[in-house]
Protein backbone atom coordinates (compact mmCIF):
# COMPACT_ATOMS: atom_id res chain seq x y z
CA UNK A 1 0.00 0.00 0.00
CA UNK A 2 1.39 3.32 -1.00
CA UNK A 3 -1.49 5.65 -0.48
CA UNK A 4 -0.61 9.30 -0.28
CA UNK A 5 -2.23 12.66 0.24
CA UNK A 6 -1.10 14.61 -2.79
CA UNK A 7 -1.77 18.29 -3.05
CA UNK A 8 -1.10 21.25 -5.22
CA UNK A 9 -2.62 24.32 -3.67
CA UNK A 10 -2.63 27.65 -5.45
CA UNK A 11 -3.96 30.75 -3.79
CA UNK A 12 -3.64 34.42 -4.60
CA UNK A 13 -4.19 37.20 -2.12
CA UNK A 14 -4.86 40.75 -3.25
CA UNK A 15 -1.67 42.72 -2.66
CA UNK A 16 -0.20 39.86 -0.65
CA UNK A 17 2.01 36.87 -1.31
CA UNK A 18 0.78 33.97 -3.38
CA UNK A 19 0.76 30.36 -2.29
CA UNK A 20 1.71 27.58 -4.65
CA UNK A 21 2.43 24.58 -2.47
CA UNK A 22 2.91 21.08 -3.88
CA UNK A 23 3.72 18.00 -1.87
CA UNK A 24 2.83 14.40 -1.25
CA UNK A 25 2.40 12.92 2.20
CA UNK A 26 2.58 9.13 2.60
CA UNK A 27 -0.46 7.85 4.48
CA UNK A 28 1.02 4.52 5.52
CA UNK A 29 4.09 4.20 7.71
CA UNK A 30 5.33 7.45 9.21
CA UNK A 31 2.45 8.71 11.29
CA UNK A 32 3.32 12.39 11.70
CA UNK A 33 4.26 14.91 9.04
CA UNK A 34 5.15 18.44 10.06
CA UNK A 35 4.35 21.41 7.85
CA UNK A 36 7.02 23.81 8.96
CA UNK A 37 7.63 27.42 8.06
CA UNK A 38 7.81 30.96 9.38
CA UNK A 39 4.67 33.00 10.00
CA UNK A 40 3.16 34.22 6.76
CA UNK A 41 4.61 31.37 4.70
CA UNK A 42 1.14 30.03 3.92
CA UNK A 43 0.89 27.15 6.38
CA UNK A 44 -2.64 28.01 7.45
CA UNK A 45 -3.73 28.45 3.83
CA UNK A 46 -2.55 24.92 3.04
CA UNK A 47 -4.17 23.46 6.15
CA UNK A 48 -7.53 25.16 5.55
CA UNK A 49 -7.52 24.05 1.92
CA UNK A 50 -6.86 20.45 2.97
CA UNK A 51 -9.66 20.60 5.54
CA UNK A 52 -12.04 21.94 2.89
CA UNK A 53 -12.72 25.18 4.75
CA UNK A 54 -11.31 27.34 1.97
CA UNK A 55 -11.41 26.77 -1.72
CA UNK A 56 -8.04 27.28 -3.43
CA UNK A 57 -7.82 29.30 -6.63
CA UNK A 58 -6.04 26.52 -8.45
CA UNK A 59 -4.55 23.08 -8.12
CA UNK A 60 -5.70 19.67 -7.00
CA UNK A 61 -5.99 17.71 -3.76
CA UNK A 62 -6.24 13.94 -3.77
CA UNK A 63 -6.48 11.59 -0.82
CA UNK A 64 -5.29 8.29 -2.28
CA UNK A 65 -7.60 7.73 -5.24
CA UNK A 66 -10.23 10.12 -3.96
CA UNK A 67 -10.21 13.61 -5.42
CA UNK A 68 -11.04 16.25 -2.80
CA UNK A 69 -10.45 19.27 -4.94
CA UNK A 70 -9.73 19.83 -8.60
CA UNK A 71 -9.72 23.32 -10.04
CA UNK A 72 -9.88 22.01 -13.62
CA UNK A 73 -13.17 20.15 -13.06
CA UNK A 74 -14.52 22.49 -10.40
CA UNK A 75 -14.74 19.68 -7.88
CA UNK A 76 -14.64 20.81 -4.26
CA UNK A 77 -15.62 18.28 -1.65
CA UNK A 78 -17.12 20.04 1.42
CA UNK A 79 -15.36 19.52 4.77
CA UNK A 80 -18.21 17.28 5.95
CA UNK A 81 -17.41 14.72 3.24
CA UNK A 82 -13.63 14.59 3.63
CA UNK A 83 -13.32 12.72 6.91
CA UNK A 84 -10.44 14.95 7.96
CA UNK A 85 -10.32 15.91 11.64
CA UNK A 86 -9.02 19.37 12.46
CA UNK A 87 -7.51 20.49 15.74
CA UNK A 88 -7.77 24.27 15.92
CA UNK A 89 -4.99 26.41 17.32
CA UNK A 90 -6.99 27.42 20.38
CA UNK A 91 -9.05 24.23 20.20
CA UNK A 92 -12.42 25.92 19.47
CA UNK A 93 -14.30 23.71 21.92
CA UNK A 94 -18.01 24.49 21.85
CA UNK A 95 -18.41 26.71 24.94
CA UNK A 96 -22.10 25.93 25.39
CA UNK A 97 -21.60 22.16 25.52
CA UNK A 98 -20.16 19.86 28.17
CA UNK A 99 -16.98 17.91 27.56
CA UNK A 100 -19.15 14.84 26.94
CA UNK A 101 -21.21 16.63 24.28
CA UNK A 102 -18.09 18.11 22.72
CA UNK A 103 -16.42 14.74 22.35
CA UNK A 104 -19.63 13.14 21.07
CA UNK A 105 -20.44 16.01 18.71
CA UNK A 106 -19.12 14.37 15.56
CA UNK A 107 -20.99 11.13 16.31
CA UNK A 108 -24.38 12.60 15.41
CA UNK A 109 -25.14 9.90 12.88
CA UNK A 110 -24.72 7.09 15.39
CA UNK A 111 -27.19 5.73 17.88
CA UNK A 112 -27.21 6.90 21.48
CA UNK A 113 -25.71 3.68 22.86
CA UNK A 114 -22.96 3.55 20.26
CA UNK A 115 -22.21 7.19 20.84
CA UNK A 116 -22.00 6.77 24.60
CA UNK A 117 -19.64 3.82 24.22
CA UNK A 118 -17.32 5.72 21.90
CA UNK A 119 -17.24 8.77 24.21
CA UNK A 120 -16.44 6.53 27.17
CA UNK A 121 -13.69 4.82 25.22
CA UNK A 122 -12.06 8.12 24.24
CA UNK A 123 -12.53 9.54 27.73
CA UNK A 124 -10.62 6.57 29.06
CA UNK A 125 -7.88 6.86 26.51
CA UNK A 126 -7.34 10.59 27.04
CA UNK A 127 -7.97 10.72 30.80
CA UNK A 128 -11.17 12.74 30.56
CA UNK A 129 -13.34 10.52 32.75
CA UNK A 130 -13.63 13.01 35.60
CA UNK A 131 -14.14 15.97 33.28
CA UNK A 132 -17.06 14.76 31.18
CA UNK A 133 -19.67 16.96 32.82
CA UNK A 134 -17.57 20.11 32.87
CA UNK A 135 -17.74 23.02 30.49
CA UNK A 136 -14.67 23.96 28.41
CA UNK A 137 -14.28 27.17 30.45
CA UNK A 138 -13.59 25.04 33.53
CA UNK A 139 -10.66 23.19 31.99
CA UNK A 140 -6.93 23.87 31.95
CA UNK A 141 -5.09 24.37 28.68
CA UNK A 142 -3.74 20.84 28.62
CA UNK A 143 -7.18 19.39 29.37
CA UNK A 144 -8.71 21.44 26.56
CA UNK A 145 -6.13 20.09 24.18
CA UNK A 146 -6.99 16.50 25.13
CA UNK A 147 -10.71 17.18 24.74
CA UNK A 148 -10.11 18.75 21.34
CA UNK A 149 -8.06 15.76 20.26
CA UNK A 150 -10.69 13.32 21.49
CA UNK A 151 -13.41 15.33 19.72
CA UNK A 152 -11.49 15.34 16.45
CA UNK A 153 -10.76 11.61 16.65
CA UNK A 154 -14.23 10.49 17.76
CA UNK A 155 -15.73 10.14 14.25
CA UNK A 156 -12.63 8.11 13.20
CA UNK A 157 -11.19 10.55 10.66
CA UNK A 158 -8.89 9.32 7.90
CA UNK A 159 -6.53 12.23 8.39
CA UNK A 160 -5.84 14.49 11.33
CA UNK A 161 -4.81 18.11 10.78
CA UNK A 162 -3.32 20.06 13.68
CA UNK A 163 -2.85 23.83 13.60
CA UNK A 164 -0.03 24.89 15.95
CA UNK A 165 -1.34 22.45 18.55
CA UNK A 166 0.90 23.63 21.41
CA UNK A 167 0.96 27.36 20.81
CA UNK A 168 -2.17 28.09 22.86
CA UNK A 169 -0.54 26.63 25.97
CA UNK A 170 1.71 28.42 28.44
CA UNK A 171 5.40 27.56 28.27
CA UNK A 172 5.58 25.01 31.15
CA UNK A 173 2.60 22.97 29.92
CA UNK A 174 3.93 23.18 26.38
CA UNK A 175 7.16 21.53 27.50
CA UNK A 176 5.26 18.86 29.37
CA UNK A 177 2.73 18.15 26.63
CA UNK A 178 5.03 17.99 23.65
CA UNK A 179 6.09 14.41 24.31
CA UNK A 180 2.60 13.45 25.37
CA UNK A 181 1.12 14.74 22.13
CA UNK A 182 3.54 12.71 20.06
CA UNK A 183 2.49 9.61 21.96
CA UNK A 184 -1.19 10.42 21.48
CA UNK A 185 -0.71 10.92 17.76
CA UNK A 186 1.05 7.59 17.48
CA UNK A 187 -1.68 5.83 19.39
CA UNK A 188 -4.42 7.47 17.34
CA UNK A 189 -3.33 5.40 14.35
CA UNK A 190 -4.33 8.17 11.94
CA UNK A 191 -1.87 9.94 9.66
CA UNK A 192 -1.38 13.44 11.03
CA UNK A 193 -0.23 16.72 9.54
CA UNK A 194 1.01 19.20 12.15
CA UNK A 195 1.47 22.85 11.27
CA UNK A 196 4.11 24.61 13.33
CA UNK A 197 6.71 27.37 13.20
CA UNK A 198 8.52 26.03 16.26
CA UNK A 199 11.70 24.02 15.60
CA UNK A 200 11.54 22.10 18.85
CA UNK A 201 7.94 21.17 18.16
CA UNK A 202 8.81 20.03 14.64
CA UNK A 203 11.62 17.83 15.94
CA UNK A 204 9.66 16.40 18.83
CA UNK A 205 6.48 15.64 16.91
CA UNK A 206 7.40 14.87 13.33
CA UNK A 207 8.69 11.90 11.42
CA UNK A 208 8.72 13.78 8.18
CA UNK A 209 8.81 17.48 7.49
CA UNK A 210 7.69 19.78 4.71
CA UNK A 211 9.42 23.15 4.76
CA UNK A 212 7.21 25.94 3.45
CA UNK A 213 8.88 29.22 2.56
CA UNK A 214 6.97 32.11 0.94
CA UNK A 215 4.18 29.89 -0.26
CA UNK A 216 6.15 27.03 -1.78
CA UNK A 217 7.36 23.73 -0.35
CA UNK A 218 11.15 23.94 -0.57
CA UNK A 219 12.15 20.65 0.96
CA UNK A 220 10.56 17.43 2.18
CA UNK A 221 12.05 14.47 4.01
CA UNK A 222 12.78 12.93 7.39
CA UNK A 223 12.97 15.64 10.07
CA UNK A 224 16.56 15.36 11.19
CA UNK A 225 17.79 15.02 7.62
CA UNK A 226 16.10 18.23 6.56
CA UNK A 227 17.30 20.03 9.69
CA UNK A 228 20.90 18.93 9.30
CA UNK A 229 21.07 19.17 5.51
CA UNK A 230 18.89 22.04 4.32
CA UNK A 231 18.50 22.08 0.55
CA UNK A 232 19.21 25.77 0.11
CA UNK A 233 20.11 28.90 2.05
CA UNK A 234 16.51 29.90 2.58
CA UNK A 235 15.58 26.55 4.07
CA UNK A 236 18.72 26.73 6.20
CA UNK A 237 17.69 30.14 7.47
CA UNK A 238 14.20 28.90 8.27
CA UNK A 239 15.18 25.69 10.01
CA UNK A 240 17.98 27.59 11.77
CA UNK A 241 19.56 24.69 13.55
CA UNK A 242 22.28 23.23 11.34
CA UNK A 243 23.37 20.49 13.71
CA UNK A 244 20.64 18.02 14.55
CA UNK A 245 22.39 14.94 15.83
CA UNK A 246 20.55 11.72 16.61
CA UNK A 247 21.86 10.83 20.05
CA UNK A 248 21.26 8.62 23.06
CA UNK A 249 21.06 9.70 26.67
CA UNK A 250 23.88 8.12 28.71
CA UNK A 251 23.64 9.74 32.14
CA UNK A 252 22.33 12.62 34.20
CA UNK A 253 24.37 14.66 36.64
CA UNK A 254 23.83 17.95 38.49
CA UNK A 255 21.13 19.26 36.20
CA UNK A 256 23.07 18.23 33.12
CA UNK A 257 22.67 15.31 30.76
CA UNK A 258 25.34 13.54 28.81
CA UNK A 259 24.32 12.25 25.39
CA UNK A 260 26.29 10.19 22.92
CA UNK A 261 26.14 11.28 19.28
CA UNK A 262 28.23 9.13 17.00
CA UNK A 263 31.61 8.77 18.71
CA UNK A 264 31.24 12.01 20.61
CA UNK A 265 29.82 12.67 24.03
CA UNK A 266 28.10 15.98 24.63
CA UNK A 267 27.00 17.66 27.84
CA UNK A 268 23.78 19.63 27.79
CA UNK A 269 21.34 21.23 30.20
CA UNK A 270 18.74 18.68 31.29
CA UNK A 271 15.43 19.82 29.75
CA UNK A 272 13.52 17.21 31.76
CA UNK A 273 11.18 14.65 30.28
CA UNK A 274 13.74 13.12 27.91
CA UNK A 275 14.71 9.47 27.90
CA UNK A 276 16.92 7.29 25.71
CA UNK A 277 16.57 8.49 22.15
CA UNK A 278 17.06 12.22 21.64
CA UNK A 279 18.23 14.81 19.18
CA UNK A 280 21.09 17.06 20.23
CA UNK A 281 20.65 20.38 18.44
CA UNK A 282 23.39 22.97 18.07
CA UNK A 283 23.28 26.12 15.97
CA UNK A 284 26.30 26.49 13.70
CA UNK A 285 27.19 29.94 15.05
CA UNK A 286 27.51 28.47 18.52
CA UNK A 287 30.24 26.03 17.56
CA UNK A 288 33.60 27.64 18.34
CA UNK A 289 36.62 26.36 16.40
CA UNK A 290 40.00 26.44 18.16
CA UNK A 291 43.50 25.19 17.41
CA UNK A 292 43.76 21.50 18.22
CA UNK A 293 46.35 22.15 20.95
CA UNK A 294 44.63 25.17 22.53
CA UNK A 295 44.03 25.49 26.25
CA UNK A 296 40.90 24.67 28.13
CA UNK A 297 38.06 27.24 28.11
CA UNK A 298 34.75 27.38 29.97
CA UNK A 299 33.09 25.31 27.25
CA UNK A 300 32.22 21.88 28.60
CA UNK A 301 32.28 20.17 25.24
CA UNK A 302 35.56 20.09 23.38
CA UNK A 303 35.75 17.68 20.46
CA UNK A 304 38.94 17.16 18.50
CA UNK A 305 38.87 16.36 14.82
CA UNK A 306 39.57 17.55 11.31
CA UNK A 307 37.99 19.96 8.82
CA UNK A 308 35.95 18.16 6.18
CA UNK A 309 34.81 20.98 3.95
CA UNK A 310 34.41 24.75 3.83
CA UNK A 311 31.94 26.97 2.00
CA UNK A 312 32.09 30.74 1.74
CA UNK A 313 28.85 32.52 2.71
CA UNK A 314 29.40 36.26 2.40
CA UNK A 315 31.40 37.47 5.38
CA UNK A 316 31.12 34.05 6.97
CA UNK A 317 32.54 30.64 6.24
CA UNK A 318 30.64 27.43 6.87
CA UNK A 319 33.02 24.72 8.06
CA UNK A 320 32.11 21.03 8.39
CA UNK A 321 34.17 19.23 11.00
CA UNK A 322 34.45 15.49 11.62
CA UNK A 323 35.09 15.12 15.32
CA UNK A 324 33.48 11.83 16.30
CA UNK A 325 30.31 13.30 14.94
CA UNK A 326 29.83 15.66 12.04
CA UNK A 327 29.40 19.29 13.12
CA UNK A 328 28.80 22.46 11.13
CA UNK A 329 30.35 25.70 12.38
CA UNK A 330 29.88 29.23 11.14
CA UNK A 331 32.95 31.45 11.61
CA UNK A 332 34.13 34.74 10.15
CA UNK A 333 36.40 34.72 7.15
CA UNK A 334 39.23 36.27 9.19
CA UNK A 335 39.07 33.52 11.80
CA UNK A 336 39.04 30.86 9.12
CA UNK A 337 42.22 32.32 7.60
CA UNK A 338 43.95 32.78 10.97
CA UNK A 339 43.28 29.17 11.98
CA UNK A 340 44.08 27.84 8.53
CA UNK A 341 40.74 26.04 8.23
CA UNK A 342 41.15 24.07 5.04
CA UNK A 343 39.97 20.50 4.49
CA UNK A 344 42.19 18.10 6.43
CA UNK A 345 43.36 20.68 9.01
CA UNK A 346 43.34 19.53 12.65
CA UNK A 347 40.96 21.52 14.81
CA UNK A 348 38.92 21.36 18.02
CA UNK A 349 35.21 22.24 18.20
CA UNK A 350 34.05 23.79 21.48
CA UNK A 351 30.40 24.07 22.46
CA UNK A 352 29.04 25.33 25.78
CA UNK A 353 26.59 22.99 27.45
CA UNK A 354 23.71 25.55 27.35
CA UNK A 355 24.14 25.73 23.55
CA UNK A 356 23.25 22.06 23.17
CA UNK A 357 19.50 21.64 23.08
CA UNK A 358 18.24 18.16 23.81
CA UNK A 359 14.89 17.25 22.27
CA UNK A 360 13.08 13.94 22.77
CA UNK A 361 12.91 11.56 19.82
CA UNK A 362 10.55 8.62 19.89
CA UNK A 363 10.52 5.59 17.75
Amino acid sequence: MDRALTFEIGRRFPGGPAVDARASIPLDGDPVTVLFGPSGAGKTTVLRALAGLDRPDGGRIAFGEEVWFDASTGRHLPPQARGAGLLFQDFALFPHLSVRANVGYGLHRQGAAERRARVEELAGRYGLGALLDRRPSQLSGGQRQRVALARALAPRPRLLLLDEPLSALDAPSREALRGELREQLERAGVPALVVTHDRTEALALGDRILVLVSGTIRQAGPVHEVFSAPADVEVARVVGTENVLPARLVRREEGLVAVRAGEAELLAIDPGGVEDEVYACIRAEEVVLEPDDGHASSARNRLRGAVLARREEGPLVRISVECGVRLVALVTRASAERLGLVPGARVAAAVKAPSVRVVPRRR
Binding site: L86, A92, R151, A152
Partner: protein
Protein backbone atom coordinates in the same frame (compact mmCIF):
# COMPACT_ATOMS: atom_id res chain seq x y z
CA UNK B 1 -61.63 47.71 31.02
CA UNK B 2 -60.47 46.96 27.50
CA UNK B 3 -59.59 43.35 28.11
CA UNK B 4 -60.44 42.33 24.57
CA UNK B 5 -58.12 45.07 23.29
CA UNK B 6 -55.39 43.80 25.61
CA UNK B 7 -55.91 40.24 24.39
CA UNK B 8 -55.79 41.40 20.80
CA UNK B 9 -52.61 43.41 21.32
CA UNK B 10 -50.93 40.45 23.02
CA UNK B 11 -52.04 38.10 20.25
CA UNK B 12 -50.79 40.45 17.56
CA UNK B 13 -47.45 40.99 19.32
CA UNK B 14 -46.99 37.28 19.98
CA UNK B 15 -47.79 36.21 16.42
CA UNK B 16 -45.67 39.00 14.91
CA UNK B 17 -42.75 37.88 17.06
CA UNK B 18 -43.26 34.24 16.08
CA UNK B 19 -43.42 35.05 12.37
CA UNK B 20 -40.36 37.27 12.59
CA UNK B 21 -38.33 34.62 14.40
CA UNK B 22 -39.18 32.13 11.67
CA UNK B 23 -38.64 34.51 8.74
CA UNK B 24 -36.09 36.85 10.32
CA UNK B 25 -33.53 34.24 11.36
CA UNK B 26 -32.81 32.95 7.84
CA UNK B 27 -32.68 36.52 6.53
CA UNK B 28 -30.36 37.59 9.37
CA UNK B 29 -28.21 34.52 8.85
CA UNK B 30 -27.88 35.37 5.18
CA UNK B 31 -27.01 38.98 6.00
CA UNK B 32 -24.43 37.86 8.55
CA UNK B 33 -22.56 35.51 6.21
CA UNK B 34 -23.11 36.58 2.61
CA UNK B 35 -20.40 38.14 0.48
CA UNK B 36 -23.02 39.39 -1.98
CA UNK B 37 -22.08 42.93 -3.04
CA UNK B 38 -25.64 44.20 -3.06
CA UNK B 39 -26.06 43.33 0.59
CA UNK B 40 -26.21 46.98 1.59
CA UNK B 41 -29.37 47.42 -0.47
CA UNK B 42 -31.10 44.59 1.39
CA UNK B 43 -29.91 46.04 4.68
CA UNK B 44 -31.30 49.45 3.73
CA UNK B 45 -34.70 47.95 2.85
CA UNK B 46 -34.81 46.05 6.15
CA UNK B 47 -34.00 49.26 8.05
CA UNK B 48 -36.59 51.42 6.24
CA UNK B 49 -39.34 51.03 8.89
CA UNK B 50 -36.98 52.65 11.40
CA UNK B 51 -37.08 55.87 9.40
CA UNK B 52 -40.44 55.94 7.64
CA UNK B 53 -43.53 57.19 9.44
CA UNK B 54 -45.87 54.22 9.95
CA UNK B 55 -48.46 56.02 7.90
CA UNK B 56 -46.26 55.76 4.81
CA UNK B 57 -45.88 52.00 5.24
CA UNK B 58 -49.59 51.65 5.95
CA UNK B 59 -50.48 53.74 2.92
CA UNK B 60 -48.36 51.69 0.54
CA UNK B 61 -49.73 48.47 2.00
CA UNK B 62 -53.29 49.64 1.46
CA UNK B 63 -52.49 50.61 -2.10
CA UNK B 64 -50.35 47.57 -2.88
CA UNK B 65 -52.66 45.02 -1.26
CA UNK B 66 -55.91 46.67 -2.30
CA UNK B 67 -58.67 44.37 -3.54
CA UNK B 68 -58.00 45.20 -7.20
CA UNK B 69 -54.27 44.41 -7.12
CA UNK B 70 -52.78 40.99 -7.80
CA UNK B 71 -51.29 40.54 -4.29
CA UNK B 72 -54.55 41.79 -2.80
CA UNK B 73 -56.48 39.28 -4.88
CA UNK B 74 -54.18 36.50 -3.74
CA UNK B 75 -54.65 37.58 -0.12
CA UNK B 76 -58.42 37.41 -0.51
CA UNK B 77 -58.29 34.08 -2.33
CA UNK B 78 -56.22 32.48 0.45
CA UNK B 79 -57.87 34.01 3.51
CA UNK B 80 -61.38 34.57 2.25
CA UNK B 81 -61.53 38.26 3.08
CA UNK B 82 -59.85 41.42 1.80
CA UNK B 83 -56.62 42.76 3.30
CA UNK B 84 -57.72 46.04 4.88
CA UNK B 85 -59.47 46.12 8.23
CA UNK B 86 -58.72 42.48 9.11
CA UNK B 87 -56.51 40.88 11.75
CA UNK B 88 -54.48 38.98 9.13
CA UNK B 89 -53.83 42.26 7.31
CA UNK B 90 -52.75 43.80 10.59
CA UNK B 91 -50.35 40.93 11.15
CA UNK B 92 -48.77 41.38 7.70
CA UNK B 93 -48.31 45.09 8.35
CA UNK B 94 -46.90 44.48 11.84
CA UNK B 95 -44.38 41.96 10.56
CA UNK B 96 -43.08 44.43 7.99
CA UNK B 97 -43.07 47.32 10.43
CA UNK B 98 -41.13 45.39 13.10
CA UNK B 99 -38.70 43.77 10.65
CA UNK B 100 -35.60 45.80 11.66
CA UNK B 101 -36.30 45.30 15.36
CA UNK B 102 -35.94 41.55 14.83
CA UNK B 103 -33.47 41.23 11.96
CA UNK B 104 -30.85 43.72 13.14
CA UNK B 105 -30.26 42.17 16.59
CA UNK B 106 -30.47 38.68 15.04
CA UNK B 107 -27.84 39.52 12.40
CA UNK B 108 -25.58 41.17 14.98
CA UNK B 109 -25.80 38.17 17.26
CA UNK B 110 -25.23 35.63 14.47
CA UNK B 111 -22.28 37.58 13.07
CA UNK B 112 -20.81 37.69 16.57
CA UNK B 113 -20.51 33.90 16.74
CA UNK B 114 -16.88 32.94 16.27
CA UNK B 115 -16.43 31.44 12.82
CA UNK B 116 -14.13 28.74 14.18
CA UNK B 117 -16.98 27.04 16.05
CA UNK B 118 -18.91 26.80 12.80
CA UNK B 119 -15.86 25.45 10.99
CA UNK B 120 -15.13 22.96 13.76
CA UNK B 121 -18.68 21.67 13.39
CA UNK B 122 -18.28 21.34 9.61
CA UNK B 123 -15.05 19.35 9.95
CA UNK B 124 -16.87 17.07 12.41
CA UNK B 125 -19.28 16.18 9.64
CA UNK B 126 -22.31 18.26 10.65
CA UNK B 127 -24.20 19.96 7.80
CA UNK B 128 -24.64 23.72 7.51
CA UNK B 129 -28.23 23.57 8.71
CA UNK B 130 -27.34 21.21 11.57
CA UNK B 131 -24.51 23.52 12.56
CA UNK B 132 -26.88 26.49 12.61
CA UNK B 133 -29.19 24.80 15.10
CA UNK B 134 -26.52 23.07 17.21
CA UNK B 135 -23.83 25.74 17.36
CA UNK B 136 -24.69 29.13 15.87
CA UNK B 137 -28.16 29.59 17.34
CA UNK B 138 -27.30 28.45 20.89
CA UNK B 139 -24.27 30.77 20.91
CA UNK B 140 -26.25 33.68 19.45
CA UNK B 141 -29.20 33.03 21.77
CA UNK B 142 -28.96 36.19 23.90
CA UNK B 143 -29.07 38.43 20.83
CA UNK B 144 -31.92 36.45 19.32
CA UNK B 145 -33.89 36.76 22.53
CA UNK B 146 -33.18 40.50 22.60
CA UNK B 147 -34.53 40.78 19.08
CA UNK B 148 -37.65 38.83 19.96
CA UNK B 149 -38.35 40.95 23.04
CA UNK B 150 -37.81 44.16 21.10
CA UNK B 151 -40.19 42.95 18.42
CA UNK B 152 -42.83 41.99 20.95
CA UNK B 153 -42.58 45.29 22.84
CA UNK B 154 -42.53 47.32 19.65
CA UNK B 155 -45.62 45.60 18.26
CA UNK B 156 -47.44 45.97 21.56
CA UNK B 157 -47.13 49.74 21.36
CA UNK B 158 -47.64 50.22 17.65
CA UNK B 159 -50.26 52.67 16.57
CA UNK B 160 -49.86 54.29 13.18
CA UNK B 161 -49.79 51.19 11.04
CA UNK B 162 -52.71 49.68 12.93
CA UNK B 163 -54.77 52.78 12.42
CA UNK B 164 -54.00 52.93 8.70
CA UNK B 165 -54.44 49.26 7.89
CA UNK B 166 -56.66 47.90 10.62
CA UNK B 167 -59.06 50.61 11.52
CA UNK B 168 -60.94 50.19 14.78
CA UNK B 169 -63.03 47.04 14.87
CA UNK B 170 -63.47 45.68 18.43
CA UNK B 171 -62.04 42.14 18.77
CA UNK B 172 -60.63 42.36 15.25
CA UNK B 173 -58.30 45.29 14.90
CA UNK B 174 -58.95 47.43 17.98
CA UNK B 175 -55.64 47.11 19.82
CA UNK B 176 -54.81 48.83 23.09
CA UNK B 177 -53.16 51.85 21.53
CA UNK B 178 -56.22 52.41 19.33
CA UNK B 179 -58.51 52.02 22.32
CA UNK B 180 -56.58 54.65 24.24
CA UNK B 181 -56.72 57.04 21.29
CA UNK B 182 -60.46 56.41 21.07
CA UNK B 183 -61.02 57.09 24.77
CA UNK B 184 -59.05 60.32 24.66
CA UNK B 185 -60.90 61.51 21.57
CA UNK B 186 -64.20 60.84 23.33
CA UNK B 187 -62.84 62.64 26.43
CA UNK B 188 -63.18 59.41 28.50
CA UNK B 189 -60.09 60.15 30.56
CA UNK B 190 -60.91 57.54 33.19
CA UNK B 191 -61.04 54.72 30.64
CA UNK B 192 -57.93 56.07 28.89
CA UNK B 193 -56.11 56.02 32.25
CA UNK B 194 -57.06 52.43 32.93
CA UNK B 195 -56.07 51.19 29.48
CA UNK B 196 -52.82 53.18 29.39
CA UNK B 197 -51.95 52.00 32.88
CA UNK B 198 -52.63 48.42 31.91
CA UNK B 199 -50.40 48.69 28.83
CA UNK B 200 -47.65 50.26 30.93
CA UNK B 201 -47.93 47.50 33.51
CA UNK B 202 -47.96 44.66 30.97
CA UNK B 203 -45.00 46.10 29.04
CA UNK B 204 -43.02 46.55 32.22
CA UNK B 205 -43.87 43.03 33.40
CA UNK B 206 -42.76 41.44 30.12
CA UNK B 207 -39.44 43.29 30.12
CA UNK B 208 -38.83 42.67 33.84
CA UNK B 209 -39.52 38.98 33.36
CA UNK B 210 -37.04 38.64 30.52
CA UNK B 211 -34.32 40.66 32.24
CA UNK B 212 -34.95 38.74 35.46
CA UNK B 213 -34.61 35.37 33.71
CA UNK B 214 -31.42 36.50 32.01
CA UNK B 215 -30.07 37.72 35.34
CA UNK B 216 -30.73 34.30 36.86
CA UNK B 217 -28.73 32.66 34.09
CA UNK B 218 -25.81 34.70 35.23
CA UNK B 219 -24.68 37.55 33.15
CA UNK B 220 -25.65 40.48 31.07
CA UNK B 221 -26.84 38.35 28.21
CA UNK B 222 -29.55 40.69 27.08
CA UNK B 223 -27.67 43.71 25.84
CA UNK B 224 -29.14 45.98 23.23
CA UNK B 225 -26.53 45.43 20.65
CA UNK B 226 -28.72 45.66 17.59
CA UNK B 227 -25.71 46.44 15.45
Amino acid sequence: MDLSALALSMKLAGLTTAVLVVLGLPLASWLATTRFRGRFLVEAVVALPLVLPPTVLGFYLLVGLGPRTAPGGLFQAVLGHPFPFSFAGLLVASVLYSLPFAVQPFAGALAGVDRRYVEASHTLGVSRLGTFFKVTLPLAWPGVLAGAVLTFAHTLGEFGVVLMVGGNIPGQTRTMSIAIFDHVEALEYGAAHRTAGLLLLVSFAVLALVYGLQGLRGGRLLSWTGR
